[in-house]
């Protein structure tokens, strides 16, 4: 034990035991401060790639549809148009799934 009263007093201070209900009270405040659980909170970081891809492909698909109108069914141009339309639909579905899945999270 140090003979210096400052060293002795500060170097041997016992810890303070929190009240028994302290942790519960803290968690009450923590839960109150957390955003409420929501199934449709948009997680924009995940949506942007889908939207960007969709907005790139949509004009392509529209252009291809315009071409398809002037070509006979079953031709190469018609098949290409169908594929492009399918890609657009899948992209939009992917973006929607991202919003629905990630939006279910809730935390700080």
């Amino acid at each position: 034990v140090s003979s210096d009263p400052i060293e002795r007093a500060l170097g041997n201070e016992p810890p303070i035991e929190p009240s028994p209900w302290f942790a519960a009270r803290v968690m009450g405040s923590v839960r109150a401060s957390a955003p409420p659980p929501t199934g449709w909170r948009i997680h924009w970081a995940s949506v942007w790639p889908g939207l960007a891809l969709g907005s790139t492909l949509a004009p392509t698909a529209i252009g291809a549809a315009a071409v398809a109108e002037s070509v006979p069914p079953g031709s190469a141009a018609a098949v290409l148009t169908s594929w492009l339309a399918l890609i657009v639909v899948m992209t939009l579905l992917g973006a929607w799934w991202s919003v629905g899945f990630i939006g279910n999270r809730h935390g700080p």
């Binding site: 500060l10 302290f22 803290v26 999270r105 700080p108």
Partner: protein, 206 residues
Amino acid sequence: VERKNPRSGPDGGPTEDALSSDDPDAGDVRRVLAGETDAFTGIVRRWQRPLVSLAFRFCRNRSQAEEMAQEAFVRAFKGLAQWRGDARFSTWLFALALNVFRSSLRRAPVDELPLSAARGASAAGDVLAALAARDTDDAVRRAVAGLPARYREAVVVFYFMEQSVSGAAEILGVPEGTVKARLHRGRAMLKQRLSRLLEPQSGGAT
């Protein structure tokens, strides 16, 4: 002077070894960030005693210390994503708590009344009784709470971190040399104040 014991954390917190081998804080942080708010309970239970103890050393009031620690926990929860894992969780938590305590003490400063109150008590009774270890320890701790903020923080955090200058420097966010200088100045101020407090009363109280 480095006298940190690597086997024990400050005020009963998790040891350094425990954190490095199987870090429960990192696991809880991951779960909280994944949306499991209740996983924060583990962090609160592990760190409540160190945080309340640290707060108490600043304000010397148990209920105020719990309020300050509670605010620190809520702030930690909100800013949990800012912990990158490059520093130990405890260092990040204590540094954040220190900011919270600083703001809180600015709003409600600790007064220095206890020093003069202790002096009055010793003057009324036996001077030797005032020098009894418990009273002296209490007077010293209260005197620390009355120091100017920068010296008070250096002194409190240094002893809280089991007299580790590097540990205190990490939490305070200043170089080790600055910590040493503030400690030196803080101790000098304490000695000056306490010498006035503990000097024998000439002629006794009237």
